[in-house]
């Protein structure tokens, strides 16, 4: 029986090559998307699932509520490390570590210096109690007991000591920042499963006393929170997270200090389950370069896969029910030979299964290519090797089964319902099969495709708008050069600036802090007191010398610049001025604002500009000089405007690099163009846009394939009618119109439904942006016209050929 089914299924697929190809391609597109996305989802959802008792592990984090807004900090204040052990109950284990950023490290025995090494933490044995590593040498009990000890992972050990066997690495010493030494006291295996705990170097916590940040790491003061101070706990079996949380709340209340009351700030310690760590956007993980796993993007991806699969299924259902005529005879015969309805449905499901299987097989191969093509979109660790997991096999089988039922059940049901006596006479098709479901499905296909098209256009428009709108300061031909951050003095930088200033290719130059738009902004509380009230306002602080505003072409509306680079005088922006209750720029000039408990003079007002991406609005901001120069300079960036592009920037850039290398030998040369920085603000949007491009292309392709199939089918059936009409004198255009009209209506209806849906969805999306592009009518019109033209072109491809045929021929073959 089965063999008979497979045979007939195969012959059917083979005899209807075109329809089979349309079906397989449509399904394969959806399946490939589903496979790739499935792999990504699998990858992202299997981080840190292997820890022993991981369901009882939490990170202690800190929530701040301030009048300016709420902040989440993934770190804790250092005394918490002791409090969780000594003051709280119900905690089985805890591990404290400090994410240690240093400028360089090297093996004492080697010359090779590692610049800005990453993944180093300062911690204790308790870390290894909580997170189980496999020890190659040394033991967790003794390895981090004393100061100046370090445990390496196998990977890191091989980087430091490429020529030594692991056994010989023990006892070797490593230098940090050239002044701290640590002896290798243990080697562990790297985690072989996916984990966000990817640290490679574990320095004993006691070593922290020798570092510049010992206050931050081991302080007893409850006042400061650094997100590098990380605390993990494992709660005991009999207590609950809620119990611990209430103790944490009580603890936060115990440690309210005067500043918090004064500024109306509230700090609450909180727990974050280990399972939430990977998708966390608020508290932050330790990812240095990897873009955060974004649950929302993953969910959108899953939806895209589902849509593509649905579109493929719709093609299948449409083409198969449309072809029912051809199969009616076979069904009639089978029924008279004794086949039951159920057996027929099984037969058709079998055929669908075979087709889906073929599609799935080609998809597995396609996915391997897709993984390469979408390289920059897919997380680094996702590759074809993940396909070997049983989970993937389950996904493939599951999808094949679901698709088989989704696509095959309805056509099977329709076909098996045929009455044999009528099916054999070929009667039923005209009366029973009006194809209204097919119309509904075709319309839904085009709704999906059309929504994607509109969304793509509008998202691109928003990106274009954001990248090209006036930020209020100069962005073209502006570049900035960052200097080594471990150099705390300004002297070399002044020399650097002076020498670059003399280059003929540089038209303006300034020494300062960050550029006007950046992700990194320092903030400070500003207080303006009058007789009867006090305005407290958070202010962003920019540092720059007297030329800073000139480089960026930012106008001063009133007042003047600070007298020199080191005097603490401030220029405030318009928004800041208004926040303190002034409406006239002249009025605030000469007033004092309290900053860090010191009265500071406002000497000028500058025009507003957009400090960050256009997602956020303009916030209060002040510009000052290099106010902390004695301790460490804030002037760490050289900003410059390059001359005429025609005269050749590359020469100028090479000269700048030469000067830089002379002043900072051995340091990396990091020159960035501002427009690139601004484009980077919109990385997320760019990713959405490229995702939408693909989703749109594929959904339009699948829908059009389906449309082509239906048009071919109906046109073939109307061969005779076309012949007769032609003989009676119908023109080419009339005939083409006649054939396309019905489908045209469906595409149009799809558009009418898609338009409000798309409008609503995009309107919501745009709400996240402080500055939005217009939802212009032409976006909607253009996408509609595009779709209609495309559909017409596809339909005419077939209808024209039919219409052009010699009527004698078509009438005879009938």
């Amino acid at each position: 029986m089965l063999r008979n089914y497979i045979k007939i299924a195969w012959r059917n697929i083979w005899n209807n090559k075109l329809f089979s190809a349309i079906n397989i391609i449509s399904l394969a597109i959806g399946l490939s998307a589903a496979f790739v996305i499935g792999l990504m989802v699998y990858y992202e959802f299997t981080f840190d699932t292997f820890h022993q008792d991981g369901d009882r592990m939490y990170r202690v984090v800190t929530d701040f509520e301030t009048p300016q807004g709420n902040m989440k900090n993934g770190g804790v204040t250092p005394p918490m490390r002791l409090a969780v052990r000594e003051e709280l109950t119900g905690i089985e284990q805890s591990a404290y570590f400090f994410n240690w950023w240093i400028s360089e490290s090297k093996a004492a025995s080697s010359k090779q210096i590692f610049k800005d090494p990453e993944k180093i933490i300062l911690t204790q044995a308790s870390y290894f109690d909580l997170f189980q590593y496999k020890w190659i040498a040394g033991s967790k009990e003794t390895a981090l007991q004393k100061p100046n000890q370090v445990v390496l992972t196998r990977k890191r050990a091989l980087e430091y000591f490429p020529n030594l066997p692991l056994t010989a690495v023990m006892g070797q010493s490593i230098e940090y920042n050239a002044d701290i030494q640590a002896v290798v006291s243990g080697i562990v295996e790297d985690f072989d499963k996916r984990s966000d705990f990817f640290f490679d170097e574990f320095v004993s916590l006691a070593t922290a006393k020798q570092t510049g940040s010992k206050d931050q790491i081991l302080s007893d003061s409850w006042g400061m929170t650094n997100n590098a101070s990380q605390l993990y706990i494992k709660i005991s079996e009999h207590s609950t997270a809620a119990q611990i949380k209430s103790q944490l709340v009580a603890l936060s209340e115990q440690h309210v200090d005067a500043d918090m009351i004064k500024y109306n700030n509230k700090r609450t310690f909180n727990l974050q389950p280990l399972a939430d760590l990977h998708f966390d956007q608020e508290y932050g993980v330790y990812n240095y370069s990897r873009p955060e796993a974004n649950k929302n993007i993953l969910i959108s991806l899953i939806f895209i896969a589902i849509f593509l699969l649905l579109l493929g299924s719709i093609n299948f259902i449409n083409l198969n029910t449309a072809q029912a005529t051809q199969r009616a005879k076979e069904i009639g015969i089978r029924k008279t030979l004794g086949s039951s309805k159920r057996q027929l449905i099984i037969q058709f499901l079998g055929e669908t299964f075979l087709l889906t299987l073929l599609a799935a097989l080609s998809s597995v191969i396609l996915s391997i290519f897709a993984l390469k093509v979408f390289d920059d979109f897919i997380p680094k660790g996702v590759d074809a090797t993940l396909m070997a997991s049983p989970w993937f096999a389950g996904l493939v089988l599951g999808l094949i089964t679901v698709l088989t039922f989704l696509s095959g059940f309805y056509p099977g049901l329709v076909l098996s319902r045929f009455k044999p006596s009528r099916a054999l006479k070929g009667e039923l098709i005209r009366s029973e099969n009006k194809g209204s479901l097919r119309k509904v499905l075709t319309v839904s296909q085009f709704v999906i495709a059309q929504v994607f098209v509109i969304a793509t256009l509008l998202v691109s428009k928003q990106i274009y708008f954001m990248m090209h709108s006036d930020l209020g300061f100069r962005t073209d031909a502006v570049a900035y050069l960052q200097t080594p951050w471990e150099d705390q003095k300004v002297d070399k930088r002044l020399v650097l600036e002076q020498e670059i200033r003399d280059l003929p290719g540089v038209s303006r130059i300034s020494l300062g802090g960050m550029p006007p738009a950046s992700h990194n902004m320092a903030t400070r509380m500003g207080i303006y007191k009058t007789k009867n009230q006090e305005v407290i306002q958070e202010l962003q602080v920019l540092n720059g010398d007297g030329d800073y505003l000139d480089v960026y072409s930012i106008d001063i509306l009133a007042g003047r610049k600070p007298l020199n680079d080191t005097i603490e005088e401030y220029i405030i922006n318009e928004t800041g001025m208004q926040a303190f209750g002034f409406h006239n720029p002249e009025d605030i000039v000469g007033k004092y604002i309290e900053l860090n408990s010191n009265k500071r003079l406002i000497v000028g007002v500058m025009k507003d500009f957009k400090q960050r991406s256009l997602k956020t609005g303009i916030v209060p901001l002040v510009l000052t000089g290099d106010t902390g120069r004695e301790r460490r300079t804030n002037f760490r960036t050289v900003h410059l405007v390059l001359g005429d592009k025609a005269s050749g920037w590359s020469g100028t850039l090479a000269q700048i690099e030469q000067i830089y290398k002379k002043i900072y030998p051995g340091e990396d040369f990091k020159m960035t163009f501002l427009d690139q920085t601004i484009a980077n603000f919109y990385e997320q949007e760019q990713r959405i846009a490229s995702l939408l491009n693909w989703a749109t292309g594929l959904s339009v392709l699948i829908s059009c394939l389906g449309l082509l199939g239906l048009v071919i089918h109906t046109t073939e059936r109307r061969n005779k009618e076309i012949g007769v009409r032609k003989v009676l004198g119908a023109s080419l255009v009339q005939l083409n119109l006649l054939l396309c009209r019905d489908f045209f209506k469906l595409v149009l209806l799809g558009y009418l439904i898609a338009m409000p849906l798309a409008w609503w969805g995009l309107h919501n999306w745009l709400q996240d942006y402080a500055y939005k592009t217009e939802m212009s009518w032409w976006v909607f019109a253009l996408s509609g016209i595009g779709m209609v033209v495309l559909a017409l072109a596809i339909m005419s491809f077939k209808t024209l050929r039919t219409v052009l045929r010699n009527p004698v021929e078509s009438l005879r073959t009938e």
């Binding site: 029986m1 008979n4 045979k7 007939i8 012959r11 059917n12 005899n15 005879k329 076979e330 009639g332 015969i333 089978r334 029924k335 008279t336 030979l337 004794g338 086949s339 039951s340 057996q343 009455k419 044999p420 006596s421 054999l424």
Partner: protein
């Protein structure tokens, strides 16, 4: 008695009026009979065969087949009944185009859940009997009309039915091929298979031992032999 029709009525509504396809048909068929149904186009021959074959329903009357009341059976039971006892032969052969001769003949056995080895033996017997062993791997399109009808009859016989219903079995064949088919029916009848055929042709009708004349859905009583 193999089957009995008592006052069968079948009609369709056309413009609010009943148009009778079968009008008060009563018929007794004994096992081993060979009955020819005659009448012009549209007289209800095919409809009557479809009713007897349980492919079509009727509005009024009783139908007893092999002591089972067909009119009150559910579709599933009816299907079981005709699967067991009835074979069909069609004017247009109605072979499945995608299956070979061998597979076409085998199909009814598949629906009766017969084991593979037994199926092989049965199909081989049938191919042998109709002398079409050499054609077993051909597709219907590769056969002449007469050959296709032979396959059709072989397929109808494979499940060893008690009753064969043949709707104009020779209608698409030339006279020589037609004669051969009728001789075959005669042979089968002599072996004990009950046959009911619908036909236009007097000479074919004469192969039967009873002729029923239909006109506008009613039985005519002018002749019987």
């Amino acid at each position: 008695m193999l089957l009995q029709l008592n006052h069968i009525y079948k009609w369709v509504k056309q413009g609010g009026k009943r148009v009778f396809l079968l009008n008060d048909i009563s018929l007794d068929v004994e096992e081993g009979e060979f009955i020819s149904i005659m009448g012009p186009s549209g007289s209800g021959k095919s409809t009557l065969l479809n009713v007897i074959g349980m492919l079509d329903e009727f509005q009024e009357g009783e139908y007893i087949f092999n002591e089972e009341p067909v009119h009150s059976l559910k579709e599933k039971q009816r299907a079981k009944l005709y699967k067991e006892y009835i074979g069909f032969v069609f004017q247009a052969y109605h072979l499945i185009d995608e299956l070979t001769v061998y597979e076409n003949i085998e199909t009814p056995l598949l629906y009766k859940n017969i084991k593979s080895s037994e199926r092989k033996a049965l199909v081989a017997d049938m191919l042998d009997r109709f002398n079409i062993v050499g054609k077993k791997d051909l597709f219907p399109a590769q056969l002449s009309g007469g050959q296709q009808q032979l396959v059709g009859i072989a397929r109808a016989l494979i499940a060893k039915p008690k009753l064969i219903l043949a709707d104009e079995p020779t209608g698409n064949l030339n006279s020589k091929q037609g004669e051969e088919i009728m001789e075959l029916f005669k042979e089968l009848n002599q072996e004990g298979v009950t046959i009911i055929q619908a036909t236009h042709s007097e000479s074919n009708a004469a192969y039967g031992n009873r002729i029923i004349h239909l006109l506008d859905g009613s039985k005519q009583h002018q002749a019987s032999n």
